[in-house]
Symmetry: C2
Subunit: 597 residues, 2 copies
């Protein structure tokens, strides 16, 4: 089994050299020094590489088991590895100090998350869901709810879940039917079934806090009847100790393509007297409250994809540098490793360049999140939030789509070995494949970008980003070595601008607007992802060139420039083609009748 | 579970309307009438849909088991389903009557193969490998070998295997080390280990005939020392009855990502006295003899990908037409099926258009195979063979890469359900993922196309195909309705022509030729695949338009035109981008050092 080494060097390159540790200069991060961040990254890399990663393959093989008593056993070692994480204080690194966390910038928390997902995505899902619960309670919970639940969730002694989906309510949550019946004491009794609940039941923590979308019996239909409820697995006594087992049970766990170490549960609420729950936030605002945290959860899913992509790179590189096969086209030697063959190199460089690019964009987005939350100036916060709103669907959908492709390329690099489960490459493909589906399918992300986000500000936030892409293109063009990258990047920016204009025009059409935007949404997101990632690699190339000019002639910088060259000149053209796809119009889609095919 | 309905309508469209049953007019096919072909297709569809398809999911779940006695049990029902196939005479439909087959054209045999792979790819592999053994013996076996082995192989009572790969010899077969020691009676004793042997051991047939690459102890190193040997599982007595068990055993079976119903074996030859074998063909020509049949095996793997893609389409369409979710962007109704959402339609139409296009190209190639084998005129045969040589790497690699993408889109259409194994969509992705790897990885196919096939005739055969693409583009442009397709297709042809020129120029460079061709090979194959598939859909659109003009206003023709529109205007641009990828040059690849990344 190939060991996993967290990409500390590249993360530091992005944080220190590309983002120049901008988040650390924001109010509230006075105590976070570059040295502290460096130590955090090194320590996270150790936890990821030494504790979490060795359980990835065994967890996949063993999977989870629903026991006869209704409990769920997670794979051997997972509970201990989770405790090592919680006891190390990792669960709270991105949570504000006021809530008991360590208050590090999101950009650092995101880098750590990538390492943990790369090490063990199935296990990484457990704290990822808890983070959502923390976020929901921090924003919408009452003082009492925060006092009762937040400390344990932040320290990771308890874990959290998100209960949205029901069999008839998937992408369309307005169809949620779970009932919440008000009780005299102000609490509720919940009745209903939720499906696809990640880490919905397990034995790795003392308690599980379920956040559940449900509606009161007299609530109106649709979104406005939905409220958010907190349902603990074990009720919590006044003194904070655990009380009775609540009426929520795991009815089944799913048999999935991947993430076998993550129990995906069907939860039954109220099979007896009703599951005791407490409303969080305002009545009828449950969906809005969920969406508060969903934006960040979507960023985390993108990060997750990048973690798996990074691990796929490491597997593929290790195999290609070891596997002897064929005659080198250059040395003529008959015992070269396959990394010598240009077609294999193409796969490796494609994997590496894309993974670097996705990471740079996701961390750029995280840094903007820090600005949006912490900048002293309100207009600065607003501008950053506007960018975050545009970037998050791209980070979620583009990173996860690419992660699947990168993991699939990783299988291909291994040849026949890639298809054998013991090699580990196939697991990465199986695991990665969920990420384009959950937390809002990638189609939903595309509609969010091309519909809501683009149309509501007439493309203002994206225009500003495109302006910056063009600025980077000009800077590249002004250099001797990188000028061809500047030209290609400028072409990408022009394509994205033109496609945006097409979408805005289509969206403004009262007749067919919604249709047209839907038809173009996915190609548009793909185009935006390619251009924004290429932009980041253009910035990386400039930084690397400066470093080399300053005498830091490390192989890392040379490799980064090669990756940038590949990303901008070999990868970007494929994305740019999406402009032509959009401009070809939607006639065939509009006329398409699935029943006739 | 979604039933599988073999695509008889579309196969008939391609055979009858696009190819105008050209194969039936060739010498040797006098007895094959359109009516007979129709009956064969209907009957194959029945076998595929009723007998093979119902075992696909259960075979995946159960998998194969290596028993303590060294035998391998295939999933329940597989042996019976295989026997139904053999007893129905299906194994010999494409084999000449002289060899005991039914002598139907390759284009018909290919259509039947697609149906069987779509129904159950794991089971379909068994006769696919047998076909290779038949081919090898028919071309290179002695009269005695043919008399002893061919009848049983053709009727399917015995099955065949291909033993090429060894742990150190994968893509580079010159490294084969299995030894064949000559005996006084003219036979050989084989010693060595072969891996990844598809259906290498099983209990679904009376005997297994292994075709094995090995080298004599005094043979030279490299390709020229390799000969081809026939090693039966059970030795065959003079009277044709089965004799002693040979010294070849199954040491292990692989635990794979997919095709669980197909036993992938490690075979040990000569653990005791040596496995008795007989040389097939000339000494030292083993690799050449293998490549005789490999070309056709590669076509069959492409067909296999198309079979799985078709099934993925059927799953996705059935789900999307059934799943109620969200508000229709057009009717405004809140209970539409997801097939109403344009982003889902985009996925469905993309899957359907691509699958249709791949099928049309693969059957066009099969029809050219018929001409190459059967045309009365030698120059006509030669011209067809030259096209086949160019088309086969495209059919193999492009169809299988696309099949993986189509199966992955099929998962996405299902949303969360797609990730649950019981749904069946994930199995198709897992099964499809082997096809870009085996029978020569898709990287090897690209080198075959861009290197050997293109360089040896200076692009003559491909040029002729591009001329035909342009002819179709002109025909489209001359119509009122399809003119935009003509323009797009002409652009694709121009791109392919330009990229071909770049590759020929690069290949002629004595310094860096091999390097450059390797670097460009995969983008070039992708470009060729897109353009040739778009061409076929352009032809399909013309045929459908004529049919409609002639009063055959069936939904099938309208759907076909929509699929053609999508393929040429929405899909082709992505392929055309590969021209830009090639023209960006290979600087970053040439400089790339995997060890430094």
């Amino acid at each position: 089994m190939i060991p996993y080494a967290a990409p500390v060097r590249d993360v530091r390159f992005v944080l220190e050299e590309m983002l120049e540790h901008g988040s650390l200069a924001l109010p509230g991060f006075e105590e976070a020094s570059p040295d502290l961040v460096e130590a955090v990254l090194e320590e996270a890399a150790r936890l990821a590489g030494e504790v979490w990663a060795p359980l990835n393959a065994s967890g996949d093989r063993q999977g989870c088991t629903r026991r006869d008593d209704g409990g769920v056993s997670v794979p051997d070692g997972f509970a201990e590895a989770y405790r090592a994480y919680a006891e190390g204080g990792w669960n709270g690194i991105g949570v504000s100090e006021a809530l008991g966390g360590q208050g590090l910038p999101e950009v650092v928390a995101s880098a750590v998350q990538e390492m943990l997902h790369g090490a063990n995505m199935a296990l990484g899902l457990c704290p990822m869901l808890t983070a959502g619960a923390i976020e929901a309670l921090a924003h919408h919970g009452s003082d009492e709810q925060q006092a009762t639940y937040l400390p344990k969730l932040v320290e990771g002694t308890w874990t959290g879940t998100m209960n949205l989906t029901e069999p008839q309510a998937g992408s369309d949550l307005s169809k949620v039917r779970t009932r919440a019946v008000p009780q005299e004491d102000g609490s509720y009794r919940l009745f209903g079934q939720k499906i696809y609940i990640t880490w919905g039941e397990h034995d790795a923590a003392e308690n599980i806090i379920h956040l559940v979308l449900a509606r009161k019996p007299d609530a109106p239909e649709g979104n406005k009847g939905i409220s958010l409820f907190l349902v603990p697995k074990f009720l919590v006594n006044q003194d904070g100790s655990l009380g009775e087992r609540n009426d929520v049970t795991c009815a089944a766990i799913e048999h999935k393509l991947g993430i076998h170490g993550s129990p995906t549960c069907t939860l039954s609420f109220g099979e007896n007297d009703g599951a005791i729950g407490y409303r969080v936030g305002e009545e009828g605002r449950g969906l809005n409250h969920m969406f508060t945290m969903m934006n960040e959860a979507r960023h985390k899913v993108g990060i997750q994809g990048i973690g798996v992509a990074e691990r796929a790179c490491q597997h593929a590189f290790a195999y290609a540098l070891d596997r002897v096969q064929g005659r080198s086209p250059r040395s003529g030697r008959n015992d070269c490793t396959i990394s010598d063959h240009l077609d294999v190199r193409r796969m490796l460089l494609s994997m590496r360049a894309r993974t670097d690019a996705l990471r740079a964009l996701a961390l750029f987005c995280a840094a903007q999140l820090d600005v949006a939350r912490h900048a002293a100036d309100e207009s600065e916060r607003g501008a950053a939030q506007a960018r975050v709103d545009v970037l998050i669907p791209v980070v979620k959908a583009f990173s996860t789509d690419q992660a699947v492709e990168i993991a699939s390329l990783g299988v291909q690099v291994h040849g026949g070995m890639g298809y054998i489960e013991e090699t580990g490459a196939a697991q990465l493909l199986r695991d990665a494949r969920i990420a384009p589906i959950y937390e809002g399918t990638n189609g939903i992300q595309a509609l969010d970008l091309a519909g809501r986000k683009l149309q509501r500000d007439g493309g203002a936030a994206l225009t500003q980003l495109i302006d910056e892409v063009e600025g980077t293109a000009r800077a590249l063009s002004a250099t001797t070595e990188l000028a061809p990258l500047g030209e290609a990047l400028a072409g990408g920016a022009a394509d994205l601008r033109a496609a945006m204009a097409t979408l805005l025009e289509a969206g403004a059409d009262p007749e067919r607007g919604a249709d047209a935007v839907q038809a173009y949404a996915t190609p548009f997101l793909s185009l935006a992802g390619h251009v924004l990632c290429a932009w980041q690699m253009g910035r990386a190339a400039l930084v690397a060139t400066t470093a080399i000019a300053n005498g830091r002639d490390e192989p890392f910088y040379t490799a980064k420039r090669q990756a940038a060259d590949y990303a901008i000149r070999q990868w970007l053209p494929v994305g740019r083609a999406q402009r032509a796809v959009i401009e070809a119009g939607m006639a065939s889609l509009a006329a398409f009748d699935a029943a006739a095919h």
